[in-house]
Symmetry: C2
Subunit: 235 residues, 2 copies
DNA sequence: CTCAAATACATAACTCGGTTATGGATCCAT
DNA sequence: ATGGATCCATAACCGAGTTATGTATTTGAG
């Protein structure tokens, strides 16, 4: 009745191979034949486990969100919620910068086959799950925003509304930076992202002075945690 | 020596058909055979005029930027530069909302074949031209920002830097909205985009009061120009 | 322990879509 | 008019997703 499938890990290995090949060789590496060869199985494995390439790609997208959520979760909370917002932004950006191909898929910018119109009308079940994971990542921003409001740094507006503003700005920056605007390396961070964060914080109610100090605190935290590289670093 | 090619318009007709089919049938309609059939030629026309589908798609992307630039140019300038920023944002959003498929291609979110890693390493000549057109669209935002600084509404920061902040936020909002977040219809505009604009304006130096008035003025201008629909409009 | 059902997967063929090879028709300059 | 180049129709090629089919292996039941 319920012949539990053998505990092989072919499914997981396919996704792992997909992510690895994706970052190494670009989106065109996301091919059933290549992945199957990499894992050492036939292309049929893709269909028994996923039903098709689309679902496998959605699973890769979901993996991106999961990785992002995990990374954002590591940021943690300090007693300066605005600094935490900056840290979340820096982390979000770093994740995308380190695995641009993966997040291009995750954000639907590079769907092999040109599918995926909007996140709302996703076809596969895996796709809907991926969208859910995206909301989990968003929750981290909501939390920090909420604390900033509670701390009196932001005006008492709806936290989801304020968080959506921050998310829009952050996501837009990351997207445009990944597209090549704002120059290579860390340029965009100093010239655009941090000033953008200050602008938003001030616009949401913080003072210029406190916002700048929080930005500086986040930078210090970042350097302490990731080494003070990134000066001449080309990523 | 210079056998000027016959003045047929097959090339333009192919791009037009691509845009039309794209909006009607989605990205999967961007196929050499479908386009050729639509125009009434063979697939070879794609290769004589573009060299391949990739270049044709880049031309479609460029058409999106051109359309966006043209639309933004129509906004014009009033004596309230901050209101003009709101109007530009509203227009930018509207263009994407009306032709989401086109701009998904333009912004590289839906490249048939899964190409296009970053805008910086575009392969085809058309692709580079498309990127150039994107900068033209950006210039409209720079102009309005510059005038806002000159008018004393924004602090005297670098206009490109300030405009990049606005652009990031705007582009992020539009992208996320097109992905289905912020709900359908005009919801996102009232709940997120306009508050986001106020936040940014205030953060850049404007007062809350003046920023809100400018937002209101832009809304009034928009309604006057496009009819006061959009109340229950589902786009 | 045996057996039936279901799962996992190999092999190979099918389909669709981008691309290329080839040849003919048309247009322009000389 | 004629040579060369462009445009494009026909048809074949090729890569990649998918499907058809068969087999082995695992699982649960008796």
């Amino acid at each position: 009745m319920s012949p539990k499938p053998r505990a092989t890990d072919v499914k997981a290995r396919l996704v792992e191979a997909a992510i690895r090949l994706l970052d190494d060789d670009g989106p065109e590496a996301l091919q059933a034949r290549k992945l199957a060869a990499e894992v050492g199985v036939s292309t049929m494995a893709v269909y028994t486990h996923f039903g098709g390439m689309a679902a496998l790609v959605d699973e890769v997208a979901r993996a991106g969100f999961l990785r992002l959520s995990a990374w954002l979760a590591e940021v943690g909370e300090t007693d300066d919620p605005v600094a935490d917002v900056f840290s979340l932004a820096r982390t979000y950006r770093q994740a995308v910068a380190e695995q641009p191909q993966l997040f291009a898929v995750t954000f639907g910018q590079s769907a092999p086959g040109g599918k995926r119109a909007t996140l709302s009308d996703l076809t596969t079940e895996e796709g809907r799950e991926a969208a859910q994971e995206g909301l989990v990542a968003f929750e981290h921003i909501v939390r920090a925003t909420e604390r900033a409001i509670e701390a009196g740094r932001f005006r008492p507006v709806d936290k989801y509304q304020a968080a959506s503003q921050l998310w829009s700005a952050l996501h837009g920056f990351v997207t445009l930076e990944a597209s090549g605007h704002f120059g290579p390396g860390e340029q965009g961070i100093d010239h655009i992202l941090i000033p953008l964060g200050v602008t938003l914080a001030v616009g949401l109610g913080d003072t210029v002075d406190r916002a700048r100090r929080s930005a500086g605190a986040a930078v210090a935290t970042w350097r302490a945690r990731n080494g003070n590289a990134g000066q001449g670093g080309n990523d």
